[in-house]
Assembly symmetry: C2
Homo-oligomer: 182 residues x 2
Amino acid sequence: AAPGAPVMGGFPGQAQDPLYVYFSAVAGQDGQISAEELQQCLTQSNISGGYKPFNLETCRLMVNMLDRDFSHTMGFNEFKELWSVLNAWKQNFMSIDRDRSGTVDPQEMNQAIVSMGYRLSSQGMNGIIKRYSTHGKITFDDYVACFIKLRTLTDLFRRRDQAQQGVASFQYDDFIQCTMST
Amino acid sequence: AAPGAPVMGGFPGQAQDPLYVYFSAVAGQDGQISAEELQQCLTQSNISGGYKPFNLETCRLMVNMLDRDFSHTMGFNEFKELWSVLNAWKQNFMSIDRDRSGTVDPQEMNQAIVSMGYRLSSQGMNGIIKRYSTHGKITFDDYVACFIKLRTLTDLFRRRDQAQQGVASFQYDDFIQCTMST
């Protein structure tokens, strides 16, 4: 930097990143954000666009999805990763929600789940879709919550299904840790 | 009933039950309520007392906890069962929240989990408590959400741990059905 140029934060490479503005505004000294702060951050960034902002419960799922060190907080690299995943989901949602009603139908949700590579029984599929429906439709917030949970739980399962046979064993404590955090 | 006395609903035994008033007001013809209707029902009944009403996500957990026929709705018998469980949890919460701040501390939450008979590692315990904390405290809504999830997941696990060894095997589809519904 030229003499006298402002040094931002101490993360020179990140200072140019527009995402870093949203992130650093709420992260403070420790460079980590909690689920409450993530909610604030995503609302300010307007990633939901015309859709309702994410509720706290969905933000908790987001933090836990990427929480590799079990800190229940999120650093900037995880935030960037989340940002790109959210944008992909948003594109997907908008391509289904053609009339911009803010919701998608159960059949469209079914197709979206299949198109993301999840293979489920029809009972499993119906259960998931009912779980995330409100008055028979799925909002963007619940769409994201559903895909975060599916991704997180599938990852957790795969790591315990080492023979890749579609069967995994859990100790009680491990099962509770995996499933209570999602 | 005396001639001319009003016949309520067609469920004479339930007509005298004050709970049935809240329930039938929202259940309508089919005698079943959805998570959205349960939220309305619990808010009207004021079971949260001075505490914030339950959010929709917690009401979904409540419906799924007792949803034995996978209908994602709740009949009057399940509603009564939920009512007594909620009252027990509320008594418990109020006995901890002595200053009526509306929140309990992590250490108190730890004791409550232990006192309900759950045996977890300290890592598991800390993970759960962090997951349900907001600014380091646990609200009544999250307290209830946490105990519903713990109870539901422990029940699901036990049914698959037939040897009672604390180990259970899951097929992928079954794992996803169990965990996505909670």
